[in-house]
Symmetry: C2
Subunit: 333 residues, 2 copies
């Protein structure tokens, strides 16, 4: 199913994204491509938003998780269960995908994760295994479960089937643009470990080789932007904080970075304040609830950081799992 690229890591190719699209059809939400007069006017060009906050479980993560588990089931692997470690969107995406496919799921979450996220994950049918984030290693716990129970590990981003699943967003963008008779000149999407943006770029560049795709990151968590500029994987400092809790990975992935190095046109950055202003813009003008990390691409666009010569720009809003308090704060400014 997966082909190798020039580099050492197995990178998914366009046909893997197409296969993922067939798997998730009728199971994931087919999110629309939306445009607004206000957004066009504000950006001075024709803009579309791909609202993955409307995806099942409130973020794009369901797509990759479903593709990963379904691919394993199709290849007649024994999948007695799946295990993932996440305190947020990936946890819910894996829980929902496993639930739809009738596979037990264990999610390893820190014991101090927000109660609502633990409850949501349990409500989706997953078993939640809590750990002490100061004393225990979540990856070691997940690996032990995988070894002892024979469970399939569903990694958050550095996995070809996960990347191909997230890439279905790029494929849908390409399909919907084609229907409308427009070309996506510039595509912006949030980036943490790089699974989403590498998947999107794989699909977009296959259909529109001239399109420029940019990874968007929170300030001080711009490891992908800096790594792209340096040509090698760089890490973020460990001591920084951001309200973009979905985008705090330490460095680009081993599999995702070579793809991004090959396909991306660069990285854009938005501060926490700019992300929060984009959350407010999305709620007031687009009528979409977007979390700060999910709004960094919109924030970068609103700040005028996308190339000015794009006739058509597509902005991915990747998730909407924001606490009431944070949304209220965004609306208070």
């Amino acid at each position: 199913m997966l082909s190798n690229t020039d580099g050492a890591a197995p990178a998914p190719v366009f046909t893997d994204v197409e296969a993922a699209a067939r798997r998730i059809a009728g199971h994931a939400q087919r999110t629309p491509l939306l445009s607004w007069l206000e957004l066009d006017r504000r950006l001075g060009t024709h803009a579309f938003v791909k609202p993955e906050c409307l995806q099942l479980t409130g973020s794009f993560k369901f797509r990759g998780a479903y593709n990963k588990i379904k691919s394993a089931l199709e290849s007649h692997e024994e999948v007695p269960g799946v295990v993932a470690f996440s305190s947020g969107n990936h946890a819910q995406g894996v829980a929902a995908a496993a639930g739809q496919l009738g596979v037990p799921a264990i999610i390893v979450m820190p014991e101090d994760a927000p109660r609502i996220k633990i409850e949501n994950t349990r409500a989706l049918g997953a078993e939640v295994k809590l750990y002490d984030r100061y004393k225990e290693d979540r990856e070691a716990i997940a690996r032990a479960i995988a070894r002892d129970k024979g469970y399939l590990v569903v990694p958050p981003y550095d996995d070809p089937a996960i990347i191909a699943g997230q890439g279905t967003i790029g494929l849908e963008i390409a399909e919907d643009c084609a229907k409308l008779g427009v070309t996506p000149d510039v595509v912006l999407a949030p980036c943490s470990g790089g699974g989403l943006i590498s998947g999107i770029a794989t699909a977009i560049k296959a259909r529109s080789p001239e399109a420029r795709v940019f990874a968007c990151e929170p300030a001080r968590f711009d490891d992908t932007a800096r790594s792209l500029a340096a040509g090698r994987r760089l890490e973020n400092e460990g001591s920084e904080k951001s309200i973009c809790d979905a985008l705090l990975s330490k460095s680009p992935g081993e599999i995702t970075f070579p793809i991004n190095k090959r396909l991306l046109s660069g990285g854009l950055v938005a501060t926490d304040e700019e992300a929060l202003a984009a959350v407010a813009f999305a709620a007031r003008r687009l009528k979409l609830v977007v979390e700060p990390g999910g709004a960094v691409a919109l924030a970068a666009a609103l700040q005028g950081r996308a190339p000015k010569d794009a006739r058509t720009i597509v902005i991915v809003c990747s998730g909407g799992n924001i606490d009431d308090e944070m949304l209220r704060k965004a609306l208070a400014n």
Copy 2:
């Protein structure tokens, strides 16, 4: 274009809705039909939401306004400008539709309308004429403008072209349900003067005669529910108040009521508190910003007031133009 029914008033028929759909194609937002695991679980059946809060100008009103103005232009009428009276969503819909069609617009609005709605209407290029809602008659003001300037009046609901335009929502629901292989057993939509629900019912009942369509109204503004039960048009008391500011018409329309009497299965009601809880549910779970009036159908469904035997229920969320303060209030509970 428009055919007469048995009654005195000219009612649009299904082919009028199809013609409206051709007119708005590529101009209005093609809103998706969305579903969520949480909503299905909460309602105990398979549910879809038609999020018209994502429509241009934040409500369904753009559809009818565009169809009305475009129809007039197509029939070679001289349209030097358009005039409408509205305190809210209709104003923005008319302003945007007129702007897209290059026709000047004057909107007659009460001085005490929400600031955001007045500002948005001006930002869309319309001239806003404010009036005192306690001393002046907005219809008389609009009629005077129409007479003096030869402007076309774009009524909020009691007009065949407006009804046909709003009916495109029902057509899209029918088309998307057909693609998914499901039948919309029950359709719920907010109702004020009845333009939206009568248009939707015209399309839905043409495609799925067995479907049951319900008008949803705020408590104490349930003139359509009571009129349907009585078999004749009844008025609301003038002294009541509601946070559902989009749904405060005094009585069913002359043209809309005969259609609704013929096609609807009844009326459902939600209190202001229930509407506000639905606003919070939409923001937290569906990641959609919906205004209280736009959420009354969702509120009625969440309160268990839809028929229990529906295998598939479709809920129209008709608008998202909510003040920051009201949304923050909803999220504080």
